[in-house]
Symmetry: C2
Subunit: 157 residues, 2 copies
């Protein structure tokens, strides 16, 4: 299995690529076994698709790569705690474990219109078996918001 | 504004098209003002994309049609209460009102791996301003599950 920190480094790298391309500061990487099957950043601004969060993009790519709409055994690293849309998508995809860096509260502080519902609480209330671990490379992940705010003049959504 | 029952009829019609094409029994229609901007059924089986729920598909289409990642003023009719993924996506899209027919509990009874969290509770816990109204043409919407179970041999997910 991929080392969580190593996978998070890939998520951070793709997040930085997104920021450099004018996108918002969220990155995600998905591995199954020792293979990385998807790396994506948020692309809402580029695509005009409000659902194009980093995790949704990565799930969609991973489904095509493995040719299955279930991603069993998948390990996910995402720079920010998944919003309810993304956390529920990861539940539907039946991934094993989700590692995240910074929190929904940090994203909300940066101006994003987040629902105030943590990923852990969504899983608990919903009765999901997806495992969730936060605070992975959290300082590096939090720094991505600063990088984005310094580089972009696009209004937050 | 579109009459909710009229919009739900469109969602039911596209759901039936999906069932006839071997897809799962969920349909969604979105209107802005007096114009229908999207009608979609679930297409997870066809696309292999686990995120391709009816509402996500309809949101993605609507964003392209109106050329905006916010769907302000949008009214949505969906044959089944939105799952947390779809409800949160509708929040991100800033739609006005979501009308739904049957419930997440009905979908769960039909074998779908639903999180046990109602759309109303997600909105309440999350602090969303999206309006939500259930039980629209509920008998017709519930009948879609029976139609699907009679017509499909695919396992539920």
């Amino acid at each position: 299995m991929f080392d969580p920190n190593e996978l998070m480094r890939l998520a951070i790298d793709v997040c930085r690529e997104g920021i450099a391309a004018g996108q918002t500061p969220f990155g995600c990487a998905i591995a199954i076994g020792d293979k990385v099957v998807a790396r994506s950043h948020n692309s809402v601004y580029r695509t005009g698709d409000i659902t194009a969060h980093a995790e949704i993009n990565a799930i969609r790519t991973a489904c095509q790569v493995v040719d299955d709409f279930f991603l069993k055994g998948a390990v996910v690293a995402t720079t920010c705690e998944p919003c309810p849309m993304c956390m529920a998508a990861l539940h539907w995809a039946r991934v094993d474990t989700v590692y995240y860096g910074t929190s929904i509260a940090d994203a909300k502080s940066s101006g994003f219109n987040e629902l105030r519902l943590s990923a852990a609480r969504l899983l608990s209330l919903g009765g999901s078996s997806v495992q969730l671990v936060g605070d992975i490379l959290v300082d590096d992940c939090r720094e991505l918001f600063n990088l984005w705010q310094a580089s972009s003049e696009r209004p937050p959504y």
